[in-house]
Structure formats: C-alpha cells, structure tokens
C-alpha cells in the first residue's frame, strides 16, 4: 500500500501539466451563427409516445419557416429529461453552460417543468414550455423568463367538468397519477364539475411512473358508487388502465371517461376496440375543419405518413410561437432575454386548435374545447366525430410577481 512521496508528486505534476494545457486552449468568441434551441422532451419512458409526436410537430413548424429566422439557421439540440426532475435539471445546465442555447423549448412533465422554472428564472434563460400544464407553473412559479404555448390544466379540465355536469352526470370518482399534472388536471375537473352541481365522491391517486397494475385502484373506484370514473392518464399508463378497466368487466358498470390523452390516437393500435365509442374532451383532433389545421395535417401526413395527434399539434404551436417571436425580433435574441418572452406574450396567431393568445403570466389561453366521440369511419378506420364545442376556462390566479 505504501506509496512514496515521489509517486504522489509525479501524479500531481501530470495533473498540473494537464491543467496548463487546458489553459492554453483559446476559447473562441461565439460567432453569429445558428440560433440554438434546446429541445427537452422525455424521449424514453411512459411519455415516450407523446414526446415523439411533439418533436415531429415542432419540426413541421420550423420547416414552415425554412428552418431559418431572418436568414439565420435554427439548430435544435435535443435532450431527454427522462421525465425525472433531477435529470431535467442536469440537462438544463448543460444547455445553458455547454451548448450555450439561446432558449429552451419543450418539457412534457409538470414535475420537470416545476424544477426548471426556478432554474430558468435564476439563469435568465427563456423557457418556452410545450406541455407542463400544471397551473402553478405560470402561477406560483411564474417568471418573466417563462412562457407556455399550450394551456393550463384548469383551462382545459374546468371546462370538461362543467360539460359532464351539464350532461346529467351527478357523481364521479376520479383517478390520476399522483404528481403535479395529475393533481392539476383532476383538480380542474373537480372544480368545474362541482361548481355546476356534480359531486366527486372519491379521489384515487396512483403513484406516477410506479404503478403497473391498477387492479386495486380500479376495484375501489368501481365500488365507490359513482356514475363515472373520470381519469387523467397519458402514454403507457393510459393503455394499462384502460385495458384493466375492461379486464375487470367495468365497461358496463362504470364508464371510464378521460380526455384526448387517455384516448390518444397514438394509443389506438394498442387499445383496439376499447377506444371505440369513447366520448371525450379534446383540444385538437385531425379533422377540425379550419384552413390552418388542414394545412398542418397535410404537411404532417406528407412527412410522417400519419395524422398528427394532439401532442403533435402542441409541438407545432410551440415551434411556431418561437419562430414568430424570433421573426419579430429580427432573428436576434435580445440582450435582455425577458424581452423575448414579453414579445411572445404579445403574439396572437391562428393555430390548428384555434386562436392563440397569451395572458399576463405568459400562459397561452385555450380558445376552444371540443367534445368528440371515437367512431369507425366509412373506411373502417377509427376517427373522431365532433359532438360539441365550447370555450376553455381561464387560468387560476397565483402569480404574485408582475412583469
């Protein structure tokens, strides 16, 4: 074990030379090259499917602008946050310090979103969320460096709760993954439902990314005596829970109602007939008959040979909002980066889902909520049939800063 002093000195010397060598490497000044956008999405794990769609939608938006802003090329640098806040924080630091991005886009999980909001604020790094629907992201954690191009959980689900209450549903049991977005979505539904005469009998929370067997939770839900199960699940978790609901023969006993994440078209191959005849609320579906949407669906189909799902539409909006803002700023990230976000806030544009406007906390407002039913089309393929539409609800208060 004994090691001589000379030995240690030798190692020390090696280290010193290494240090000196690094010091002599000149650091090049950042030339006016591409605008780097860090795109952070959970490419692996339970939300891998929506992440892929968002990435594709984002690319369609950039291609609309020729992948350039005022002549400067756009470079996307991707990172996988693994839907884990601590990993997201590491990747974010890498974006800021190593990749030197101009802004960060993406982020699906609200858990990651909450962790990053503090970092974005402290680093004065514009963070343009694509999903991260939890109300507090543009509420309690609001910042002049944070914007969200989709909508808040309350904006969507309050409207949904109101709708189901108006359809004569009196009692519901809720099910959702126990994390910020699950809480926010189910909370929004509950407020909308109960403000309009409904009653949530029981709330069941399943551990996020941990539960693979929902039998115990579903058994409790079925036994609650409520008329419906209202649930928020997405990706792989949605497939599991819908399948097991059917396995236990609950389809005839207590309907499993959710939104366009539970019955996402990306999940239709896995769900098969289980998705058929499901009625749900949606913020986007491919057959919306607006010019903007049809153009988007066509471009998406041309590139990816399939219809875009809601995540693709949200990814598209995210990319488009960024490109429109850059265009307004002449393809430059201003010295004061908060100005990027405040410029975005003043935008109004038509998206495949409807008109997009931002509120004072930089959160996009939801213009329309659609109610649809999944049916078999004349070609035998599943498609959505519009039943109803109504305006989205507002955001919850909670932002104490002013900017």
């Amino acid at each position: 074990m004994a090691m001589s002093f000379k030995g240690y000195a030798l190692i020390g010397l090696t280290g010193a030379i290494g240090l000196a060598a690094s010091a002599s490497v000149p650091t090049y000044a950042q030339e006016k090259g591409a605008i780097k956008i860090g795109l952070m999405l959970p490419y692996k794990g339970v939300y891998a499917v929506p992440a892929e769609s968002i990435d594709r939608g984002f690319q369609i938006a950039l291609e609309e602008f020729g992948n350039k802003s005022n002549g400067r090329p756009i470079e996307i640098i991707r990172a996988d946050d693994e839907l884990t806040p601590s990993v997201g924080v590491q990747r974010f630091n890498k974006f800021v310090q190593s990749d030197k991005v101009a802004l960060v886009a993406g982020v699906v999980g609200s858990n990651v979103g909450i962790a990053l909001s503090e970092l974005a604020d402290k680093n004065k790094m514009p963070m343009v969320f694509v999903n991260a629907f939890a109300d507090e992201i543009t509420g309690k954690f609001c910042s002049p460096y944070i914007a969200r191009t989709s909508f808040s959980a309350n904006g969507f689900e309050y409207a949904s709760g109101k709708y189901w209450a108006s359809k004569g549903v009196k009692t519901a049991v809720t099910m959702g993954p126990d994390y910020s977005a699950g809480r926010a979505f189910i909370g929004g539904f509950k407020r909308g439902f109960e403000d309009n005469g409904g009653k949530v009998i029981e709330e069941i929370w399943t551990p996020f990314q941990k539960t693979k067997d929902y039998s115990a939770a579903l058994t409790q839900a079925a036994n609650s005596g409520a008329q419906i199960i209202y649930a928020f699940y997405a990706g792989a978790e949605a497939i599991q829970v819908v399948k097991q609901h059917a396995d236990f023969g609950l389809r005839t006993k207590i309907p499993f109602i959710g939104d366009h994440w539970v019955y996402d078209e990306a999940l239709w191959p896995a769900l098969g007939d289980l998705a058929l005849n499901a009625q749900h609320v949606a913020t986007h579906y491919p057959s919306i008959e607006t010019e903007v949407n049809q153009k988007f669906v066509k471009a998406y189909n041309a590139k990816y040979k399939q219809d875009p799902d809601v995540s693709a539409a949200l990814g598209y909006d995210n990319g488009k909002a960024i490109m429109l803002t850059l265009e307004k700023l002449g393809g430059e990230m201003p010295q004061d980066r908060a100005k990027f976000i405040s410029t975005m806030r003043d935008l109004t544009f038509d998206s495949p889902r409807g008109k997009i406007k931002f509120n004072a906390q930089n959160s996009a407002l939801l213009e329309k909520v659609y109610v649809v039913e999944i049916v078999k089309g004349p070609d035998g393929k599943m498609q959505r049939k519009p039943l109803d539409q109504f305006p989205g609800a507002g955001d919850l208060p909670g932002c104490t800063k002013s900017f």
Binding site: A2, I11, S98, N111
Partner: protein
C-alpha cells in the same frame, strides 16, 4: 480535453492527502498548498461547464466520503445512504420554505436532525452485517423514498423548489453566480474533508478500522463495538446530508429521486473506484464517475447499460480502486 483535466487535477488532489508520512511532511504541506492554489485558480482558466462538473464532482465526493466512512473504514456496505442525501435536501427545503427559517439556521438544524434520526436507524441496522446490513439499509431508504413520494406537504414526487443558496451579499457576491458557488462548494468540501480526516485519524477512527478488521477482537478488548458502529453510521449520515444540502442548493431543488437506490449504488461505486478506506479515494472515484458518465452521455443515451457494466467490472477486477492501482504500479516500478 477539459474533462481529462478535471480528472487529473482531481487525481492529483486525491493522491495527496492520504499521505501521513512524517518524513515528507513539509513537502506534503507545500504540495497541498499548490493543489489548493490550483483548485482556487480553476475558475479563471476553464469554461463554465467544466466548473459545473467540478461542482458535481465535489458534491458527489462528499457523498461518497460519507459512504466511505461506513464502508471503507467500518466495513459496512450500505445500499441506502441516498436517504441521507435526501434528508439533507429536504431538511433545508422544509426549514426555509415551510418553516421560514433562514438558511444559516436550517442547515445546522438539518444536520442535527439527521444525526438524531440516523442514530436509531443505525442502531437497528448495525445489529446486522454483510448482505443483511445491505438489505436493511435498502429497506429503510426505500421506506423513506416511498413516504416522500406520497407526502403531500413536501409536494410528493414533484419535490420542492426554491431552495436558497447562501446569502453572500455582505461580501458583495451572489451565490447564484457559478464561480461564487464553486468556491462555496470548495470551502464546504475542504471543511468536510478536514472533519473526516480528524475522525479517521482519531482514536475513534482507529477503533472503526479495528472493527472492520476483526470485530471480535475489538469486543474482547473491551470496546463498546455497537456504540462505535452507531456513531460511525450517524457521522456518515451527516456527511451524506451535507452533500444533500449542497446538491439541492446546486439545483435549487430536491425530490424523492435523491433517495433512490440507484443513487445509493452510485455512491458505493464511487467509493470502490476511488479505493475504499483512503480518505481522498471517494473524490477520485467521484471524479472518474462524473467524467465517465459525462463522456458516455455524449456517445450514448443507454446510461444504465454502461453504469451496470462499469459497476461489474470495477467490482470484479478493480477492488483496490484508482489510488490503490496507481500506488501498486508505482510500487512495482520502484
């Protein structure tokens, strides 16, 4: 390559301090000063990202040092030390955000509370040894991990944000600045090391090593072995909690993932890489681990694959650790 620089500079630092040879004390001190100077000067000639890595290495090194006290010096291999990493982060998060205490109260209170919680846990765990110790520490950390996910007032799996860094406005500095934060972590790392060094060179430390080598003999010599083991467990916990506090300040954030068993495993791996029972070994291990992980993440996203293979190779063929191998090499040459 800046990454290599980190590695070698840490290795240099790592190679220095475990040298208690009286003959070369003066030269030793001189070199120590040089290293200190090198680490202090680091921010002036490397990029911000290398400094970030240096911060990660130091934090991981403190965490691994806590494990080393238990594993390397006392001979108890735990797969649950990450729970104390989490306790540190949650401690100051609860103190500052929920109770409204300033950081300078929250941090010491956290460490005291961690010691107070760790002592009874240690009393239970250290009744076992070997694989059973490994399992029961794993069980405890899984229990707290599960509880943290379910606990509403700490935001469940979302964790807590807004963890403050120290207020250095009196010195005219902001710890939000990466360079300032680097120095802050450096100071804490040096202090932790000094404390550890005091511990392992004290009679208490010799008893711990004695326990590792031959528990029965220590017992028959009249030492209250059980108390020493609990003491070692609690001290290790406090050191891990220090790392947890720094980690949460570094990311302004703490969530239950800090307590996952993979995190505990990573700590054990760093100790093995660096060479157990060498005081600077964990820092060398942390440097190797962080740099290799960083290099790998540029090549592939299959982190688990390489973490696992790396782990197996190190356990099977590299038990002396980096320092052990280097000293063996030099020993041969001479």
């Amino acid at each position: 390559m800046s990454a290599d620089v980190m590695l070698t500079s840490e290795r240099r630092a790592g190679a220095m301090k475990p040298l208690p040879l009286p003959a070369s004390r003066r030269a030793y001190a001189a070199l120590l000063v040089t290293i200190g100077f090198g680490l202090c000067a680091l921010p002036s000639f490397v990029s911000g990202y290398v400094m970030t890595l240096a911060v990660e290495v130091m934090i991981a090194g403190i965490f691994a040092s806590g494990i080393n006290l238990l594993t390397g010096y006392t001979g108890l291999v735990s797969l649950g030390q990450a729970m104390f990493l989490g306790f540190g982060g949650y401690g100051i998060a609860i103190g500052t955000a929920l109770l409204g205490w300033p950081l300078w109260i929250s941090a010491p209170v956290t460490l005291v509370v961690v010691a107070a919680i760790a002592a009874p846990i240690g009393a239970i765990c250290t009744r076992t040894r070997g694989v059973e110790f490994l399992l029961i520490t794993l069980a405890f950390s899984q229990m707290f991990y599960g509880a943290a996910i379910k606990l509403r007032w700490t935001n469940g799996s979302d964790g807590m944000t807004g963890i403050p860094r120290p207020d250095l406005s009196l010195l005219g500095m902001s710890a939000d600045n990466p360079t300032v934060f680097y120095y802050y972590v450096l100071v804490v790392a040096v202090l932790s090391l000094l404390m550890l060094w005091r511990i392992v060179t004290s009679p208490f430390g010799s008893v711990l090593v004695g326990i590792r080598e031959n528990e029965r003999r220590m017992m028959s010599m009249g030492y209250a072995v059980a108390n020493y083991k609990v003491g070692s467990f609690a001290l290790a916990a406090v050191i891990c909690a220090v790392a947890g506090i720094l980690q949460s300040q570094y990311t302004y954030f703490v969530n239950p993932d800090a307590m996952s068993w993979q995190m505990s495993g990573e700590g054990v791996l760093m100790v093995i890489i660096g060479g157990a029972n060498v005081i600077l070994g964990p820092f060398v291990g942390a440097a190797v681990f962080v740099v290799v992980k960083q290099a790998l993440s540029m090549i592939t996203e299959e982190y688990n694959l390489f973490f696992g293979i790396f782990f197996m190779l190190v356990v099977a063929f590299f038990r002396g650790g980096v320092l052990g191998s280097i000293s063996a090499l030099i020993g041969k040459r001479q």
